[in-house]
């Protein structure tokens, strides 16, 4: 009796946990399996790796059909890096002020910055489309970077501010009392403490820029398009046949670095996500 009462709930929890893990991983697994499958067996439903080939990865990077995945990857890295650096440079001081200072209108500003991160991107697109057409920015990198700042910067400020609120700022004062100058205290105490928070925020900022599609799909050109746009418009050899295996290979290439990054920094990313209320 006793054993039964205790193992019953435990088994039920384990089964439900398994269902959750399988539900989350199965489509991802299917993408990887398909990406390694010979194109002739695209719709083969065998659930494990069969007809394994690397051809799809070659096709994904091939430029013969007008796809430019390699260039798109570089574009995404470049745009993501610039957006992240700008957001951190500008946003760190704002996050510090929101976390550490007492001033009038603070909750109003915090609320406004949060509201900005929830702002519908589609409300920016038509005026920007016209503006960038007028000043000849259509398809340029800056036309992709500037709108991305509209959602990455609020996210950065919000996440960093919640990290900063948790930091043991008393240590800085202690260091000053022990004879450190302000700069020394910053460099030796605050910077090492803040670095992981800034790093986590940078990852979240980069991911949200990397995943952007709406604005890029309208404002980029062939030369500047990021990976999301490249994958969405991936062309096959037949006009009416989706090149599924190659697209799955491209999807795997775009996703694997993110998944590794997220799993390695899992704890911090979850902390950052729940602190800032980032959207996916």
């Amino acid at each position: 009796m006793r054993v039964k009462r205790h193992t019953g709930p435990r088994v039920r929890t384990a089964i439900q946990a398994l269902v959750i893990a399988v539900w989350c991983l199965l489509p991802f697994y299917w993408m990887i399996v398909t990406s390694f499958r010979d194109v002739g067996y695209t719709f083969d439903p065998t659930p494990w790796f069969t007809h394994v080939t690397l051809d799809n990865y070659a096709t994904a990077f091939s430029t013969a059909l007008g796809n430019h995945l390699g260039r798109a990857l570089l574009n995404s890295v470049f745009i993501g890096a610039v957006v992240t650096v700008i957001a951190l440079l500008v946003g760190t001081t704002a996050a510090y002020a929101l976390a550490r200072l007492e001033f009038r209108g603070k909750s109003l500003i915090a609320g406004a910055i949060l509201a900005a991160s929830m702002f519908p991107g589609v409300a920016l697109i038509s005026p920007l489309f016209q503006l960038f057409t007028d000043i000849g920015w259509m398809g340029s990198y800056q036309a992709l970077i500037l709108p991305s700042i509209s959602f990455v910067l609020p996210l950065t400020v919000y996440t960093l501010a919640s990290f900063f609120r948790e930091m043991p700022w008393d240590l800085e004062e202690a260091a000053r009392i022990d004879g450190c100058t302000r700069v020394q205290a910053f460099r030796r105490i605050i910077l090492p403490l803040a670095a992981p928070a800034v790093f986590t925020t940078a990852i979240l900022a980069f991911i949200s820029s990397w995943n952007e599609y709406l604005i890029s799909s309208q404002l980029s050109s062939d030369a500047t398009q990021p990976v999301t746009v490249a994958i969405a418009s991936f062309a096959g050899s037949q006009p009416h046949q989706e090149p599924y295996t190659a697209v799955m290979a491209a999807g795997t290439i775009v996703t694997i670095p993110l998944v590794i990054l997220v799993l390695v920094f899992q704890r911090r990313i979850v902390a950052g996500l729940t602190a800032g209320g980032v959207k996916g």
């Binding site: 929890t13 946990a17 959750i20 893990a21 989350c24 489509p27 299917w30 719709f43 440079l89 500008v90 760190t92 001081t93 704002a94 510090y96 002020a97 200072l101 007492e102 001033f103 009038r104 500003i109 609320g111 910055i113 949060l114 509201a115 929830m118 519908p120 991107g121 589609v122 409300a123 920016l124 697109i125 038509s126 005026p127 920007l128 016209q130 503006l131 500037l146 700042i149 948790e166 700022w169 800085e172 004062e173 700069v183 910077l191 995943n211 599609y213 309208q218 999301t228 994958i231 969405a232 991936f234 999807g251 775009v254 996703t255 993110l258 997220v262 996500l273 209320g277 980032v278 996916g280």
Partner: protein, 340 residues
């Protein structure tokens, strides 16, 4: 680098933080001055990248699009339009006539209905499933770390890739039809295409819900459950009387975030169906309609995006004002909880 070097100077007399009560006014004034320097650049940048486009969208929305009027075939010169663009969408008027079926103008209420359909259905599904996931992950079991890692995978995959992945799964010859043993044409049937979007969105976003709810669940002390167990509360009673009320603030914030996100749904629809399905627009959302409209006239598109913006704003207002979703307070509470 300028940000990094500004920080030390920004720390305003650390000792000054202590005697706050004694000289509150002076300190606040000093903090206020620093706050202007520190937050100013962020506000300025946001004013450029958000404020400017929004204001110009509103101004544009009162201008007439130059070009041939689709309904009448006459050339329209542009200029001040009054509320013509708004009447165009809300009243389905193209010039002096009702918008012809199939034109973008005729699709506003379809898109409006679809957007709310997607929002309500996905957010309800994601909340229920997310709550369930969070409750499971909050328990102690072997392999919990693995499940928590697995749940991050759908979140980490870009929506554009998610769309392509589910497009493949939902293909008429795809694996889903094979598994259910039934040939469903997911992207031509009216309701099947809608549910294809719903399923893909639920898969992608539920983990995010689950994580936010889990953060709230972790704040409920074990003692509360122990005590209720001693008092003989059933599992169901514990869930309804303890878990749900205590997790409510975190839940409301998660739901608010998701609702605002779902109202602007674009990527999945644009890539999976392009707004099509059914008789041609079964899955079109407001955002999809705005983007389709841009190349047919900025000003009408601006009116539609302004309408969309107002709708999102009103929904957010209702949440914060009437349903008590207090984002700032809830998150502050969660941080305090995490500290202990």
């Amino acid at each position: 680098m300028s940000a990094a070097t500004e920080i030390p100077a920004a720390i305003p007399n650390p000792q000054g933080l202590e005697p706050r009560k004694r000289r509150k006014g002076g300190l606040n004034a000093e903090h206020g001055r620093w706050a202007v320097y520190l937050i100013g650049p962020t506000i300025l940048l946001l004013a450029i990248v958000i404020g400017y486009p929004v204001v110009s969208a509103v101004i544009q929305s009162f201008q007439l699009d130059a070009g041939l009027d689709k309904a009448t075939g006459l050339f329209v010169a542009g200029g001040f339009a009054g509320v013509t663009n708004y009447v165009h969408w809300l009243g389905q008027r193209c010039g002096d006539v009702t918008c012809p079926p199939g034109s973008l103008g005729s699709q506003f209420w379809v898109a409006f209905g679809n957007t709310f359909f997607f929002t309500v259905v996905t957010v309800v599904l994601e909340t229920v499933i997310g709550l369930w996931m969070a409750i499971i992950m909050n328990r102690n079991f072997k392999g919990r770390a693995l499940v928590r890692a697995a749940i991050l995978v759908p979140w980490a995959i870009p929506t554009a890739v998610t769309a392509k992945l589910w497009y493949f799964i939902f293909d008429a010859n795809g694996v889903l039809n094979h598994v259910i043993g039934h040939q469903v044409l997911w992207f031509s049937d009216e309701w099947a295409s809608r549910f294809a979007i719903v399923i893909a969105d639920t898969w992608k976003t539920t983990p995010f819900m689950a994580l936010l709810i889990l953060a709230g669940l972790q704040l409920i002390p074990d003692e509360v459950y122990e005590a209720s167990k001693m008092d003989g509360a059933s599992t169901m009673q514990r869930f309804l009387l303890i878990t749900l009320p205590l997790v409510r603030p975190a839940l409301m914030v998660a739901v608010l975030f998701r609702v605002l996100d779902a109202l602007r749904i674009y990527d999945l629809i644009a890539i999976m169906t392009g707004g099509g399905g059914g008789s041609g627009n079964a899955t079109v959302s407001l955002s999809v309609l705005v983007v389709d409209q841009i190349r047919q006239g900025f000003n009408a598109a601006s009116a539609l995006s302004t309408i969309t913006f107002v709708i999102v704003f009103l929904v957010a207002f209702v949440f914060v004002r009437f349903l008590g979703a207090n984002v700032v307070q809830t998150q502050a509470a969660q941080q305090k909880g995490e500290l202990k």
